[in-house]
């Protein structure tokens, strides 16, 4: 497992191939878009997906906590898939989550999906600042500095000799770092989509998640859709 070092706003950050960010100077771990209870949300809609997604996401989180032993854990929003998600947590999963939140300082940045997490340890904030960095759920186009964000679930396609390989990825430019979604059932949005492209107008780099390492490629976005020809 080889993390990749990057720099943002003068701080040295480690990108983990499992899709998390570690900030060694502050012993801080950041994860994005956990989407707990997405499986049961689908079940409510009539698709009986396997119910272990929360457990699988917690397993990922547990591995990261063991690896980095952070003092602070920042969840960058959309920690639950929907407003009632926390209420559907299996008691076993709830206990485990609270165990984590007791052993570390947990900061729940609120996203568009979550209300205040109910019955969970840790603090809930709209955004979280530490040193030169700002942790938010969703970044907006325009000037900023040192912003760490989630929300878009970035994913990139690389056309290789044999196949197009598609993976979740980090997106980085001089001002922002966007994290991939960590949730077991979270899909991705192609980084070529203007919704992401408009946030990185000058391009940057993407880091695709691999089994033991990241794969880095140049990123040149499309900013807006091309205007349609006159009909």
């Amino acid at each position: 497992m080889t993390p990749a070092p990057v720099h943002l706003a003068g701080e040295r950050l480690m990108l983990d191939p499992d899709g998390a960010l570690f900030w060694p100077a502050q012993k801080l771990l950041a994860v994005a878009d956990l989407h707990f209870e997405k499986g049961s949300a689908a079940a409510v809609q009539g698709s009986l997906l396997p119910p272990w997604d929360t457990r699988a996401t917690l397993d990922r989180l547990a591995a990261l906590l063991r690896r980095y032993k952070p003092e602070t854990v920042v969840a960058l929003g959309d920690s639950f898939h929907d407003a009632r998600g926390a209420l559907r947590l299996h008691p076993h999963d709830l206990a485990r989550l609270n165990l984590f939140a007791g052993a570390h300082r947990f900061v729940w940045v609120l996203g568009n999906h979550d209300p205040e997490p109910q019955g969970l340890a840790g603090e809930a904030v709209e955004e979280w600042r530490l040193g030169p960095l700002r942790f938010v759920h969703q970044t907006r186009p325009g000037p900023t500095v040192g912003e760490i964000c989630g929300h878009h679930h970035p994913k990139a396609h690389v056309q290789t000799r044999a196949a197009t390989v598609s993976r979740p990825c980090f997106v980085l430019d001089a001002k922002r770092l966007m994290l991939p979604a960590l949730g077991a059932y979270t899909g991705g949005l192609d980084v070529r989509d203007p919704a992401i492209g408009n946030l990185f107008p000058r391009g940057g780099r993407v880091f695709l998640l691999g089994k033991d390492r990241l794969f880095s490629f140049a990123y040149q976005p499309i900013r807006t859709r091309q205007p349609a020809p006159p009909a």
């Binding site: 690389v158 196949a163 040149q220 009909a231």
Partner: protein
């Protein structure tokens, strides 16, 4: 045997026909209330034989209600046959109503069919499943006297066939008296088809009526003038000879093996078509309207040739086709016969066909196929047991129609031949899966789709569940598709390409589709917009699973021919020379052994295994083999598979080769492979959609529910980890035995060659290995782990940009690569 009653006798006479013996035989069987399997070549008046007893019965005893249900795998076939039936019904003023039912049937027509069922209903397996799921199903089908299943040979053994068999079992309960008629082409395995048609699911009790004879087809092989290609599957170099044959005949169907090949050959023919002969293209991804235009131009005799894929294999009788060309490997004797049968639908004259091999190996395969046709040695495996995913879909469908008792349903399902050996455990698991997902963690108590009443009968929970089910019916799962449309005013739809192909294109790229050169403009929601024209080397869309593997039977014949040099005189000189040199410098692959050659080339070692088990099996074996080589420290770097051989290359020399091909490869490495194989992930997705776990994405519908839809790969990973024996994973493994992964064929081969691996250590490439080596770098290796590919790509880009030193091992030839940065305003291609 009896004869036809009036007015049928006069009507036949007025057409200048005499009733055929098999038509009378089917009539006699029907009068005795027997079910029948009618086996006849195309052009034998098969369909009329199937309907004749129903026509006679209703002429003698007119009555309301549905009398005969006809099911065909092709929508177009049902419509065509309905039209053909109108003629005798009209001529003889028979009191018979006829209707078709498919996805295209309009709402008011559907309602009318429900309220006043026609005497004859012609439909497809999917539409029948939908009807079965309606509350009115028992009223509609209760009066059935006969069920006719067309093209049984094309249905049995497929998931659509499973679906239909289950529906037939349901009809057996709704209308116990209905007799059945199965119509089939000649097949290798007859007993399973009898069982398929049978109301009991057992072969006895179904009378077989076979029409034999017919002139044997006249098949020849032509080669391109000049050099015979070493590799490639497109056969483009033979375009001048193909055009000459088209010119010399009235109407030709030029069959090819893939849609990509159809596009390329069509372009190649038009480049040299100086007489502008009317030549068209036909394949399954073209817009329906386009296909219909081509079909009616064919029927009207306005075309001289059509370049076609399997989209023209089955179905409507075109009449005036004078010859059939098969460009590229025939792949199997039955398939070749089916295609050859498309020409000259008169039984007494021979069909005419010409084979055009695209490379040297295909010359062997064509010769083997010609011998196979002469020997009437049909191929094809016996149908596999029915899929549990299809069963799950059916159980929910029946529940949507009416409540049932599980015991009754189990007995009913076992009367469908594909499920005759279904265990009660598997049935109960399928029922539980439909009920609440069937998970070991009972989390979905509250979201059950079924409930049981106090008498133990199973009901569907709500109308919403029923509606959801009806949207999800069917067993054909397509890759995500994008419509291809010409941009601008009046830009028409041309057809569909797979999403992943569209993802590979950048604005300005040229691609070939629907017989045109198009320039990619943009993607808008579910539409790919393109403009006419475009320059540069065009890309050609490929479609998943587009290639049929070589059949076992044909592979056997090729192996036998290689062994027996006395048969070589049938081959052109260049092929004879090629084989003779192989025998001198290495040896020939034997019938029951496995020849494996290893040799150094450049700074890597190649291993070439002459397995002859077809591409799909070789792809899977390649992945398993390279994993094992990795474990033994041979540093494998890649592999490539063709229909005939598998080649791997590695940094270290492979030794103790027999150990690599031990049978335990399917135990040790299979589980790891299950985790990684992209083919298996696709198989799982299909299973999950069919079983109703994942909702079908309807073409043209924008994904608005992005938040709810979950990628099947993610579900697969979670399920594999937490409940590896879940019904859907068992169904996925069962599917892996055949189809895209073909594990069953690997198992068979490993058992056969055990202790018979012949390892030749060579100092250089052998003649027989040249074709596969030419495929290296050209063939896609879709089964390979994504990480290796990403690493290779990342390193090459870094190296080309001067960011990294070349790795110690470098191929001598420049790699044939197209690479680009992410994003579509690319800094472009680094390698041509």
């Amino acid at each position: 045997m009896g004869t036809l009653p009036e007015p049928f006798l006069s009507w036949f006479a007025a057409q200048g026909w005499a009733p055929r013996p098999h038509q009378l035989a089917v009539l006699a069987a029907a009068r005795a209330g027997e079910s029948v399997l009618l086996i006849a070549p195309t052009g034998g008046g098969k369909t009329l034989a199937g309907f004749l007893p129903s026509l006679v019965d209703l002429a003698e005893r007119p009555r309301a209600g549905m009398h005969t249900l006809y099911v065909s795998p092709l929508k177009a076939l049902a419509a065509d046959i309905a039209r053909n039936l109108m003629r005798p019904v009209g001529d003889m003023c028979l009191p018979i109503t006829i209707a078709t039912r498919s996805g295209d049937t309009k709402t008011d027509e559907r309602r009318q069919q429900r309220e006043q069922p026609p005497n004859f209903l012609l439909t497809t397996p999917e539409s029948l499943s939908l009807l079965i799921s309606l509350p009115e199903a028992d009223k509609m089908f209760g009066s059935l006297a006969a069920i006719i299943v067309d093209e049984v040979h094309a249905l049995a053994g497929t998931k659509r066939g499973d679906q239909l068999a289950l529906c037939l079992a349901r009809l057996g309960a709704l209308a116990p008296g209905a007799r059945r008629v199965g119509l089939s082409a000649t097949v290798a395995h007859r007993v399973p088809l009898q069982a398929y048609v049978s109301p009991s699911g057992q072969a006895d009790g179904v009378r077989v009526i076979e029409v034999t004879g017919g002139a044997p087809p006249d098949i020849e092989m032509i080669l391109p003038v000049g050099r015979l290609p070493w590799s490639g599957h497109m056969g483009l170099s033979a375009a001048p000879e193909i055009l000459a044959r088209i010119r010399a005949a009235g109407m030709t169907i030029v069959f090819v093996n893939t849609r990509a090949q159809a596009e390329l050959l069509f372009q190649e023919l038009w480049k040299i078509n100086t007489d502008t002969l009317p030549i068209a293209i036909h394949h399954g991804s073209l817009e329906l309207e386009q296909r219909k235009r081509v079909e009616s131009a064919m029927a009207d005799g306005k075309l001289r040739a059509v370049v076609a894929t399997s989209s023209l294999d089955l179905g409507i009788d075109w009449g005036g086709v004078d010859q059939v060309l098969q460009v590229g490997a025939p792949k199997g004797v039955s398939r070749l016969l089916q295609r050859v049968g498309r020409s000259n639908h008169r039984m007494d004259e021979p069909s005419k066909a010409i084979l055009v091999p695209a490379n040297r190996f295909e010359v062997l395969e064509c010769e083997a196929a010609i011998l196979g046709v002469a020997a009437r040695e049909l191929d094809g495996d016996p149908p596999r047991p029915g899929g549990l995913d299809v069963l799950a879909q059916h159980i929910l469908g029946v529940a949507c129609s009416a409540p049932f008792l599980p015991d009754d349903m189990f007995a009913e399902v076992r009367r469908a031949a594909p499920y005759a050996d279904l265990t009660r455990d598997n049935f109960d698991d399928a029922l539980r899966f439909v009920e609440d997902g069937g998970y070991a963690l009972s989390a979905y108590e509250r979201y059950r789709k079924l409930f049981r009443d106090s008498e133990g009968r199973v009901h569907v929970r709500s109308d919403r569940v029923a509606r959801q089910h009806r949207m999800n019916i069917g067993t054909i799962v397509e890759e995500p598709l994008l419509k291809v449309r010409l941009a601008g005013r009046g830009g028409g739809a041309l057809g569909e390409v797979e999403e992943y192909f569209a993802n590979m294109l950048s604005p300005g790229d040229t691609f070939m589709f629907a017989g045109r050169l198009l320039k990619f403009l943009r993607i808008r929601e579910t539409t790919l917009e393109a403009a006419e024209g475009g320059d540069g080397e065009p890309a050609v869309p490929a479609y998943a699973g587009g290639r049929m593997p070589l059949t076992t039977n044909l592979a056997d014949r090729v192996r036998t021919m290689l062994q027996d040099s006395s048969t070589w005189s049938a081959f052109p000189d260049s092929v004879q020379e090629w084989l003779a040199t192989q025998r001198k410098v290495s040896r020939m692959p034997g019938r029951d052994d496995l020849l494996v050659e290893t040799f150094p080339r450049g700074d890597r070692f190649f291993l070439v295994a002459y397995c002859f088990e077809g591409r799909n099996a070789h792809q899977t074996l390649g992945l398993l083999l390279t994993r094992r080589m990795q474990r033994y420290g041979m540093q494998p770097l890649g592999f490539v598979a063709t229909d005939y051989v598998l080649a791997t290359w590695s940094a270290d020399e492979p030794t103790d080769v027999a150990r690599l091909f031990e049978q335990d490869i399917l135990g040790d490495d299979l589980e790891a492979w299950m985790a990684e194989s992209s083919m298996l992930r696709r198989t799982f997705r299909n299973v999950a959609v069919i079983a109703g776990l994942i909702e079908r994405q309807h073409p043209g519908v924008v994904k608005t529910k992005r938040q709810v839809t979950v990628n099947s790969d993610l579900i697969y990973d979670v399920l594999r980890r937490h409940q590896p024996d879940h019904l859907l994973l068992r169904a996925t493994r069962a599917d892996a035995a055949g189809g895209l992964t073909d594990v069953g064929r690997i198992a068979g081969m490993l058992a056969r060659i055990h202790g018979r691996v012949r390892h030749m250590v060579l100092s250089r490439v052998s003649p027989l290995a040249v074709p596969v080596l030419l495929e290296v770098g050209r063939e896609s290796v879709r089964n390979q782990g994504g990480d290796d590919l990403l690493l290779e790509e990342a390193e090459l880009v870094a190296e080309a940009l001067g960011e990294a030193e070349p790795p110690p091992f470098r191929p001598r030839e420049p790699p044939r690569l197209r690479t680009r940065s992410i994003g579509t305003h690319g800094q472009g291609r680094l390698f041509g």
